[in-house]
Each structure stands twice: as C-alpha cells, then as structure tokens.
Symmetry: C2
Amino acid sequence: MDLKQVAKDTAKVLASYLTYQSVRIVIDQLSETNPPLAVWLSGFSSKGKIQDGEAYIQELLLENQELGFRVVTVREYLAHDVVEFLPEMVRANIQQANMEHRRQYLERVTQLNWSVPSSNPESSIDSEPNLDNLSS
Amino acid sequence: MDLKQVAKDTAKVLASYLTYQSVRIVIDQLSETNPPLAVWLSGFSSKGKIQDGEAYIQELLLENQELGFRVVTVREYLAHDVVEFLPEMVRANIQQANMEHRRQYLERVTQLNWSVPSSNPESSIDSEPNLDNLSS
C-alpha cells in the first residue's frame, strides 16, 4: 500500500474539486453582476476541461485573464478556509457511514434468524447466517 | 458563498474518492493472494457505481460481505492516515500552481514587451500589456 502516492493523488483530486467549486462561486457572483459573462464562463467550463484544474485555469487565463485570476483567488481562499475542516469532517462521515453499514448488516443477519420458526430446532442450525466470512 | 455547503460537498467527494482508493488497494492485494477474486472485484467496481461510495459499499456488502467489510476497513485506515496530511498538501499544491500560473502570465506579458522594437518609443506605449484587468 503506497500511502504516499494515495495522499498525492487525493490532494490532486481535491485541488481540482476546489477549482470546480471556485468556478461555481464565480459564476454565481457573475450571474448577479454580469449575467452574460456568467453564461460565457458556464459554457466555457462545461466542456469537461475542469476535470484537470490546472489545465482549466491555464486555458481560462488565455481566454479571459481577469476571470482566470478571479478563480485562482477564490480557490486560494477555499484552500485556506475549507480544507482545514476536512480531516475531521471526512473522518466523522466515514465513521458514521461505516456504523450504518454495520447496522444494516446486523439487521439483515437478525432478520435471517427471525425467519426460523422456533418450534423447529432441527432446521435452525442450517438456517443460521454464515458468519465464517466475518472472521477473515 | 456558502462555505459550509462547499465544505460538506467536498468532504463527500473526498470520502467517495477514498472508497475508490480503498477498492484499488484491495484489488492490488487480491491480485497476489486470490487473482480470480481480484478480477471479480475489478469487474464489479467498474460499473460506475463507485462514484457514490456509500451506495457502492452497500451493494458490495450484499454481493460479497467479506470484501465489503475489507474495503470499509481499508477506507477507515486511509481516513486516519492520509486525510491528516491533506490540508497542508493541498494548500502547498495550490500555492505552487498559482505561482506557476502567475509566472506564465508574466512570461507572456514580457514576451509582448520584447516584441516591441526599442527603437520605436511611440509604439511602446500602445503595446504595453493591459494590466487594468488585474486590479479588479
């Protein structure tokens, strides 16, 4: 497990996602102050280019330098104010999701047990849920 | 700018990306210990379901409970060991990328200046790069 590479890849994905969020914020702002420019930026950004944040910004700077630097500024802001809270949020989300997955699993297992009529002891052994998988 | 919503959305994207990385790690491990199962998990995971990490895990737990809990365990591990370093990495990446964007911009501007023959002082004023945009 190459944790260093996983961390690097994750940071890159995160930077690109923050670029996408910055563009959305700038489009939102423009739709109030300069609707035609909002439409232009929206069209420019919907060509799938935004998947690679840096390539997108590079191209935007060539097409409209002011908007390019505006996206860069908003992204810098998000990198400071949003990223800080992410570790705790992600950990909490994942812990909660995992608890939910385990709860649902236990619910399924319990329902299997309930479906065995208690008056028939012979069949209850066969119909116990197979828990062998859990140990490995 | 609804920063709280941006943070929430970003945390969700990050959790799904960590699910994807966990599945890749489990497939890597399986390809050494149980190649047929690696092929099966690879096929199961390539159906685009992995975009939503929780829905993917839920479905995997129904299909193969052992693999489902294995992915959950790896993801929990990544959430502790990788996520911690992300804020610093993302900030550093974004700062470096922005510096690079500014450097490239200045390079373009300087090239524009160089293209003006110095023996013609009149035209040098016209061909100065338009820096008005930068102020806004």
